[in-house]
C-alpha cells in the first residue's frame, strides 16, 4: 500500500513537470493567428503590442511581388480575404517557398510570422504558402473539374 502510494506520487510528479513545461511553453511561444484587418485593429487598440510577434494569414495581391537585388529583399502585399481594401506591405529576407508564385490567375494564400514595424511594414521571419499539399494534388481545382468546367 505504502509503495503504491509512493508510485502514484512519482506519477503525479512527472505529470506535473510535463504539465508545467507545456504550460510555460505555450504561454512563452504562442502567437496570435490573425487576418490583416485583425492585426491592424489589434495594434490600433493596443499600441504596446507592436513589438509582439504575430502569425498573419492573407491573400497575395496579384502582381505586388518585387525583389530588391541590392538588399536581397522580397517585397509583396497581402490583403484580407474578407476585406480586400485592407492591405499590409510585407518584407522578407529568406528564400520564399517553391509554392509562392505571383501570377494573376492563381490565388495564393500566404501565412507569415513576424512583427509589424512602426512604419506599418510587416517584417516576416517566416513565409508559408498554401496551395497544393504534400498529399493532395491541387484540391482547389476539384470543384472546377467536377463541374466539368475549365480544362487545360
Amino acid at each position: 500500500m505504502r509503495n503504491d502510494r509512493r508510485f502514484f506520487v512519482g506519477l503525479i510528479g512527472v505529470a506535473g513537470v510535463v504539465g508545467y513545461l507545456i504550460w510555460t511553453g505555450i504561454s512563452d511561444t504562442m502567437l496570435y493567428f490573425v487576418t490583416p484587418s485583425e492585426l491592424l485593429t489589434r495594434i490600433a487598440e493596443n499600441p504596446q503590442s507592436v513589438a509582439q510577434a504575430w502569425r498573419v494569414s492573407g491573400k497575395l495581391v496579384p502582381s505586388s511581388y518585387s525583389y530588391s537585388k541590392t538588399e536581397l529583399l522580397h517585397r509583396f502585399v497581402v490583403e484580407d480575404p474578407a476585406d480586400p481594401s485592407t492591405r499590409v506591405d510585407v518584407e522578407f529576407r529568406s528564400p520564399l517557398p517553391d509554392t509562392f508564385t505571383d501570377s494573376p490567375d492563381m490565388e495564393v494564400e500566404v501565412v507569415m510570422e513576424g512583427t509589424l514595424r512602426s512604419d506599418h511594414v510587416f517584417e516576416a521571419t517566416e513565409v508559408l504558402t498554401k496551395c497544393g499539399s504534400r498529399y493532395e494534388a491541387m484540391p482547389k481545382s476539384e470543384s472546377v473539374a467536377l463541374s466539368g468546367g475549365r480544362i487545360e
Binding site: 503504491d4 510535463v18 512563452d28 537585388k69 517557398p97 498554401k130 496551395c131 504534400r134
Partner: protein, 700 residues
C-alpha cells in the same frame, strides 16, 4: 475492362466483410467451428477482392484513363510509369483502398499462421479485423469512390504535384500505412483477449512480431518523410512540427511506449491494464493520424482539402473504438490485477515506467500543440498558433531524459537496485561520459542541449558496448568459441534483447544528428558568374563556392529548368562541381527548387538558388545578366540521422528474423526474475543461461 472489374470487386467485398464479421462473432459465441472457418475464408476472399480493386486503380493510371476523376486529378500522360503505379496511394481515394489492401493482407497472414493455434481467440480477432475492413471498404464505396467517373474523357490529366514526384515520397506514405495497418493485428488480439477473458500474456506475445514490424514500418515511414522534406522543401531542415508530421509521430511514440512496457508485464506481471490501454491508444492514434492528415481540420500548410465529411467519419470511428474498448476494459478489470507491487524508484520497473511516462508526455505535448489552436478558437474565438519553438522547448528536455533512460533501463536491476549493482553497471559509463563532456567542452561545444546529447549518447553507447562485450566474453569462455562466433551466437540466442540494443545505438546516432542542428551555418549572397562565397563549417574547415555559370534546359513538362553550376573547394583543395536548380513546371504550374547537396560522413553542404534576377540572362544566356541569389548551408551531423535510421532497421530486423530466438514460454505465464531479460545485478553475461525454453516465437 480491368478498372470496371476492380469497381465490381470493391462492391462485392463489402457484403462479404459484413457477413464474415457477423459469422466470426456468432461462431465465437456459439463455439461453432464451421462458422468461424467460413468467416476466415471471408477474410481471404476480401484480400483477393481488394487486390483486384487495387489492380483496377493501377491499371486505370497506367492506361491513362482520364475519364476517372481520381486518375484525372493525380496523373498526366507525361508522368513516369513508376509514379503512375504509386497513384494508388497518391491521393485520398486510392489510399483508402490501399489501406484496405494492407489490412486484408495482414489479416489473412495472421489468420493463416493461427489456423492451428490460439483458436479460442481467433474468431474474435477475425471479427474485429473484418469490422475494420468493412469500415474502410464502406468509406471507399460511399464517400471516397476511387472509380468515380467524370462524365466525359479529358485528353490529359492534371498531373501530380511535382514535389511528390520524388522517390522518398513514393515510399513514405506506404511505409506509414503499413505501420498503421499492421498495428491493427495486436489491437485485434487485445480486443479478443478482453472479449474472451483470456487475459494472460499470450495476446501480446503472439503478436510481438506484429508490434515490432508495425513499429519498424512507422520508424522507416517517419524517417523517409524527414529525408523527403530535407531534399525537397529546400529550407535545410527535416522536421517542422507540422500537424501532418506530428500525425505520423504520435502512433510511433505510443507504440514505442507499448513495446517497452510489455516487458514489465512479461517479467513482473505488472501494468496489465496499462498495457491494454497503450495498445488501444496506439490504435486510436493511427486513426487520429489519418484524421489529421486527411481532414484538413487542423491548420496546416500541407493539408489543404477541408473535407469535413471524412473528418467526422474518422472522428466517429475514433469515438466508437474508444467507447467499446473502454467498456471492455472496465468489464474485465477484475481479471487484470497486478501480480506484484512496485518496490523502489531505483529499479528497472521504475526506469521503464519513466520511459513510458516520458513517451506519453511527448505524445501528449504533440497532441496538445496540434489541438490547442482549435480549442482556443472554439473557446475564446481568437485564433492562436503554436509552432516549432513550443514543440522544441517542451520536447527536447524530455527527449534528453529518454536518452538517459536508454542507458539506465536495460542494465539496472529489477525490483530494487543495490548500491553494488549501480556501481558495477554505471560507474565506468559515467566516467566515460565525463571524459567526453570534458573533451567536447574543451573543443568548444558550449550549446547546452547539444553537449548533453553527446554526453548522454556516450553514456548509452558505453553501456551497450559493455553489455555486448560481457556477453561475448562469457559465451566465448563457457562454450570455448572464438569471440566473433560467440558474438553471433549470443545475438542469435536472444535476438530480441540484442536487436533491441542495436536499435538503441541507432536512436542514439539519430539524436546526435538532431543535436547537430545547434551548429547549422547559413550564408546568403548575391553572385555574378565567376564570384565566390565562403562558408565556414563548424568543424573548422572552410568551403569556397564559386558560381561558374547558369544554363537552361527544357525537359518534358517544364517551361524551363535553370541550373547553376558551382565548383567547390575545401581549404583550397578542389572537391569538384555542385549544381542547384530551379524548375518551372507546366502541369501543374509550379516552381521547384532542386537543392544541391554534398554529403560527407559528418556534414552536408546544402546549396540552393533563391532566384535569378534577370530572365534575359537565362533566355539569351548572357553572363552579364546572370546575377542570382544563393543560400549555402552547412548542416552538421544531418547524415547521422539517415545512418542511425539504417542501424535501427538492422536492429529491428534482427529482432524480427523468423524462427526461434525469443526466450519466451509458449503459453502465457510470465517469467520469474531468474530468467529475466538480464538479471541486472551480477554479471549480465549470465543472461546467456536464459532457459530460453526453446519455444519458437509464435508468429502472430
Amino acid at each position: 475492362m480491368i478498372p470496371a472489374l476492380g469497381e465490381f470487386a470493391l462492391w462485392i467485398a463489402l457484403p462479404v466483410a459484413l457477413w464474415g464479421c457477423a459469422l466470426a462473432f456468432l461462431g465465437g459465441a456459439w463455439s461453432r467451428g464451421d462458422l468461424v472457418l467460413s468467416a476466415e475464408r471471408c477474410t481471404y476472399a476480401i484480400f483477393f477482392l481488394v487486390a483486384v480493386a487495387s489492380a483496377g486503380i493501377i491499371t486505370a493510371f497506367v492506361q491513362d484513363r482520364y475519364e476517372y476523376w481520381y486518375v484525372y486529378n493525380y496523373s498526366s500522360r507525361e508522368l513516369l510509369t513508376f509514379f503512375k503505379i504509386a497513384g494508388l496511394w497518391a491521393g485520398q481515394r486510392g489510399s483508402i483502398v490501399f489501406w484496405a489492401l494492407n489490412l486484408s493482407l495482414f489479416s489473412s497472414i495472421a489468420i493463416w499462421f493461427n489456423r492451428d493455434r490460439n483458436r479460442d481467440l481467433m474468431p474474435y480477432v477475425n471479427g474485429v479485423l473484418l469490422a475494420l475492413l468493412s469500415f474502410f471498404i464502406a468509406i471507399s464505396i460511399f464517400v471516397q469512390p476511387p472509380f468515380e467517373l467524370l462524365g466525359f474523357t479529358p485528353a490529359d490529366g492534371r498531373g501530380l504535384n511535382p514535389q511528390l514526384q520524388n522517390y522518398w515520397m513514393t515510399m513514405h506514405p506506404p511505409m506509414l500505412y503499413l505501420g498503421f495497418t499492421s498495428f491493427s493485428i495486436p489491437f485485434a488480439f487485445a480486443m479478443a483477449a478482453l472479449m474472451t477473458g483470456h487475459l494472460d500474456a499470450r495476446w501480446f506475445q503472439v503478436t510481438r512480431k506484429w508490434t515490432l514490424s508495425s513499429w519498424l514500418f512507422l520508424t522507416v515511414g517517419v524517417i523517409l518523410g524527414m529525408r523527403w522534406a530535407y531534399e525537397e522543401l529546400g529550407w535545410g531542415g527535416y522536421w517542422f512540427w507540422d500537424p501532418v508530421e506530428n500525425a505520423s509521430l504520435l502512433p510511433w511514440l505510443v507504440a514505442t511506449a507499448f513495446l517497452h512496457s510489455v516487458m514489465i508485464q512479461e517479467n513482473r506481471g505488472m501494468l496489465k491494464v496499462w498495457n491494454m490501454g497503450l495498445v488501444i491508444l496506439t490504435f486510436l492514434m493511427t486513426i487520429f493520424a489519418t484524421f489529421l492528415t486527411r481532414s484538413g481540420l487542423i491548420e496546416s500548410v500541407h493539408s489543404f482539402a477541408q473535407n469535413l465529411t471524412i473528418a467526422w467519419i474518422f472522428l466517429g470511428c475514433l469515438g466508437v473504438v474508444a467507447a467499446i474498448s473502454t467498456v471492455l476494459v472496465v468489464w474485465r478489470l477484475p481479471l487484470m490485477q497486478s501480480e506484484r507491487q512496485f518496490e523502489s524508484f531505483v529499479s528497472r520497473e521504475a526506469a521503464f515506467l519513466m520511459n513510458n511516462l516520458i513517451l506519453l508526455g511527448i505524445a501528449f505535448t504533440v497532441t496538445w500543440g496540434v489541438m490547442f489552436p482549435l480549442l482556443t478558437e472554439g473557446l475564446t474565438g481568437s485564433k492562436v498558433a503554436v509552432g516549432p519553438p513550443f514543440f522544441n522547448r517542451v520536447n527536447i528536455p524530455m527527449g534528453l531524459v529518454l536518452l538517459a533512460l536508454m542507458g539506465i533501463g536495460p542494465v539496472i536491476a529489477w525490483r530494487k537496485a543495490t548500491p553494488r549493482n549501480l556501481k558495477r553497471n554505471f560507474l565506468f559509463p559515467i566516467v566515460v561520459a565525463g571524459v567526453v563532456a570534458a573533451v567536447l567542452f574543451e573543443m568548444g561545444v558550449r550549446h547546452a542541449y547539444a553537449l548533453l546529447t553527446f554526453v548522454l549518447g556516450a553514456f548509452v553507447l558505453t553501456i551497450i558496448l559493455i553489455e555486448f562485450w560481457k556477453g561475448t566474453r562469457a559465451r566465448a569462455r563457457i562454450e570455448a568459441e572464438n569471440p566473433a562466433i560467440a558474438l553471433v551466437h549470443l545475438v542469435r540466442r536472444n535476438r530480441q534483447r540484442w536487436g533491441g540494443y542495436i536499435v538503441h545505438v541507432g536512436i542514439v546516432v539519430i539524436f546526435m544528428g538532431f543535436a547537430g542542428k545547434a551548429y547549422d551555418v547559413e550564408v546568403r549572397q548575391s553572385l555574378m558568374p565567376g564570384e565566390s562565397m565562403a562558408v565556414l563549417s563548424p568543424f573548422g574547415h572552410e568551403y569556397e563556392l564559386t558560381y561558374e555559370s547558369l544554363s537552361t534546359s527544357r525537359p518534358q513538362n517544364t517551361f524551363a529548368v535553370v541550373t547553376a553550376l558551382f565548383t567547390v573547394r575545401q581549404d583550397g583543395a578542389d572537391l569538384g562541381p555542385l549544381t542547384t536548380e530551379r524548375q518551372f513546371v507546366l502541369a501543374p504550374p509550379q516552381t521547384m527548387t532542386e537543392v544541391g547537396i554534398r554529403s560527407t560522413i559528418v556534414e552536408d553542404l546544402y546549396l540552393l538558388m533563391v532566384l535569378n534576377q534577370d530572365e534575359v540572362g537565362i533566355v539569351e544566356n548572357r553572363p552579364d545578366l546572370q546575377r542570382a541569389t544563393f543560400v549555402a548551408m552547412v548542416n552538421p551531423l544531418v547524415p547521422w540521422i539517415w545512418y542511425g535510421g539504417l542501424i535501427v532497421v538492422v536492429g529491428s530486423l534482427i529482432g524480427l528474423w523468423p524462427g526461434a530466438g525469443l526466450p519466451i514460454p509458449r503459453h502465457g505465464g510470465e517469467r520469474t526474475e531468474s530468467d529475466g531479460l538480464a538479471p541486472g545485478d551480477g554479471d549480465s553475461g549470465s543472461s546467456e543461461h536464459d532457459p530460453a525454453s526453446g519455444a519458437p516465437a509464435a508468429v502472430g
